[in-house]
Symmetry: C2
Subunit: 168 residues, 2 copies
């Protein structure tokens, strides 16, 4: 199962692709997209086109997006919402299911505690994807979301199997 993780942002959109066989993970690629253009419609179009290109190149079978932090700054939240729309729309256009995970859920799955520091997340991502070269903090977060989705998926599959065994 190939999983695309996305950490949405208008200026920097982190992405990371991993391959998951049960709980065995390997790194495929990661990077950061930057929106170009002065006006919002062009910036969104730029992100849309770059993310579409990532989907074409790496053909993931599932996607997971970090659920944007909602703060008290309305204008900032609005911008994040716009970037997040692109992150949700493009995988849906490719027919993928898109998991959404709050930052704390990602940290809890990847690091073991919900309030881990950023450095800890990157450290655990490196541990679980040996040899990975990480393009930056946003790409590390995107890889962490993908890892979170892989574990959730593996857990769901084990649960399914257990339920099937129990009812067989």
């Amino acid at each position: 199962m190939r999983i695309l993780g996305i950490d949405p942002g208008l200026r920097n959109l982190g992405w990371g692709v991993i391959e998951a066989q049960g709980s065995r993970l390997s790194h495929v690629a990661n990077g950061i997209l930057h929106s170009t253009g002065d006006e919002m419609p062009r910036r969104l179009l730029s992100l849309y086109e770059q993310l579409t290109d990532i989907l074409h190149r790496f053909a993931p079978e599932a996607a997971a997006v970090e659920h944007t932090f909602v703060n008290k700054d309305g204008a900032g939240t609005l911008k994040l919402g716009q970037a997040r729309a692109i992150a949700l729309l493009v995988p849906a256009q490719f027919g993928l299911n898109v998991g959404e995970y709050a930052p704390n859920a990602v940290k809890k799955t990847v690091v073991g505690v919900g309030h881990a520091q950023k450095g800890q997340v990157e450290h655990m991502v490196r541990m679980q994807l040996p040899g990975v070269q990480i393009a930056g903090p946003d790409a590390a977060d995107a890889l962490a979301v993908a890892i979170c989705h892989a574990y959730q998926g593996a857990a769901a599959t084990k649960l399914d199997a257990a339920v099937r065994r129990a009812s067989a």
Copy 2:
């Protein structure tokens, strides 16, 4: 010049198409799109596909979007941001310039005062587009944004002409 106005919303996205020849306006079509599906990615995809269909059907040459009101409710603002991203992205994909207008700017242009009541906007829209059947309040707002853009465009064109005459 055919102008598409959009009042973005996740549940109800109002749209209206008008034809503007200088300050002479006529109504083409209006309606309200509803996002379908339980999950956000599918809802955004549903709006995206419906709005793309509107662009194909009516082939506007310009678009104008009401600049979403940013309130104190972070979750609501995030949703509005997501709907607004679709409203900005789709016209940009068709190569259109997209004007953005704050609700007060729309009211000031259409009604003459920035703090007009909703009923006043709809009344003025009916006055300026004789015979129009309006699909609902969100469609009335969308037509008002289109009218606002028509007047701004006409004003800009007159200014251009004046500048050209002055420098000839």
